[in-house]
């Protein structure tokens, strides 16, 4: 119930931010839409712990994201150099490894981080097996037991 | 600078369109369509600033959402149904599952 209430509040905030108009009619319309959406998502059983993960949001924003941004910039620069290099020095590999996360949210964060980093794409994601396509052999070799893996596991341990 | 960004985005859209025209497999074309969607979204945001009307950003949000929904709809179709050369394999997979 608290979860649904926070969902409702964030929807209303979303409406107000998007519209930027604060006449009574529009605010009432926004609140009405938000209530309808909360009721619908309740019927569709969407507002579970995954759809609205309040419990790890702040940790993620404060410690994980800056690190992830740094990684994305580093590897994007690497891939850019390879794309623009006349000889196209790539060595694509498929890497299979075992992630250390236990919860679904942790696995999803790890898989999405892998995909978000240019040069690696998670192809198959199962609880005990990740299949990752990497653009270079070095990028593929750095995946097993990586810092990203460790950080994702640390993220889910609450 | 905004004009330059617009031009670069249009070039990217053109490149992705060429890939969509050439693309040997369906997935190449899908990837090209996805890239066009992303670029169109950025193009909207940049155009909004270029014309001095940043309200266009609402539309950029809609584009982003629709792009994702389009890709997911197409992929759901791919997983369930006929797709040219790969159809037999998909059918085999379904039988085994």
């Amino acid at each position: 119930m608290a979860r649904q209430f926070s969902f409702l509040l964030s929807l209303i905030a979303f409406w107000l931010l998007l519209s930027g108009m604060f006449t009574p009619f529009l605010i009432a319309a926004g609140i009405g839409s938000a209530i309808v959406i909360v009721l619908l998502s309740r019927r569709m059983d969407l507002a579970d712990h995954e759809g609205h993960p309040v419990h790890l949001a702040w940790v993620a924003v404060l410690s994980y994201w800056p690190w992830l941004f740094k990684e994305i910039i580093k590897s994007a620069w690497d891939v850019t150099r390879r794309v623009l290099h006349p000889a196209l020095p790539i060595s694509p590999v498929l890497v299979e490894f075992r992630p250390t996360q236990t919860t679904d949210v942790g696995l999803v964060i790890h898989a999405n981080s892998i995909t978000l980093t240019p040069g690696t794409i998670s192809v198959e994601v199962e609880p005990d097996r990740f299949l990752v396509h990497a653009l270079t052999r070095e990028a593929g070799a750095g995946l097993t037991g990586s810092e990203m893996d460790r950080r994702c596991t640390a993220l889910e341990g609450n | 600078m905004l004009a330059f960004a617009t031009l670069a985005l249009l070039v990217t859209v053109a490149l992705a369109l060429v890939r969509a025209a050439l693309g040997p497999t369906v997935f190449d074309r899908l990837q090209a369509a996805n890239t066009v969607g992303t670029c169109a979204m950025l193009l909207l945001a940049v155009l909004g600033f270029l014309f001095g009307r940043p309200e266009f950003l609402d539309l950029a949000l809609v584009y982003g959402l629709l792009n994702a929904i389009g890709v997911f709809a197409v992929l759901k179709f791919l997983r369930q149904d006929d797709l040219g050369e790969a159809s037999k394999d998909a059918a085999n997979l379904r039988e085994r599952a």
Binding site: A111, L116, V123 | C39, D58, A90
Partner: protein, 109 residues
């Protein structure tokens, strides 16, 4: 102050546009579907990120900036999911990736 912010935003827009182009060029140059996805992900991360950062600096502290952040967050969350779904669908349909390993292992002793 404002000229500093403006020049940073100009540089950021320039770099973002260039990275978008790099993604497009990679989409043309790469040999197979999976490697092309890596090129496209440059457009979706650095291209989008830097362009939105440039616009964000132009917008200043307004509602527009919040909307730009929302667009950024949307791309940040949705694009890896779409890429993963695409790669997985390609793998399910048995689209074989071009791998470097085959040639290398034969050359190694």
């Amino acid at each position: 102050m404002s000229t500093l912010v403006e020049s940073i935003s100009a540089i950021s827009l320039l770099l973002g546009a260039l990275f978008c182009c790099v993604g497009g060029i990679g989409l043309m140059r790469m040999p197979d579907f999976y490697t092309r996805m890596h090129a496209a992900s440059i457009t979706e991360t650095l291209g989008v990120g830097l362009t939105l950062l440039g616009l964000l600096l132009l917008a200043g502290w307004t509602l527009v900036a919040v909307k730009l952040l929302m667009v950024g967050a949307l791309v940040f969350f949705v694009s890896p999911t779409a890429s993963h779904a695409l790669a997985r669908a390609a793998m399910t349909c048995r689209l074989k990736p071009v791998l470097a390993d085959v040639g290398e292992t034969t050359s190694k002793p």
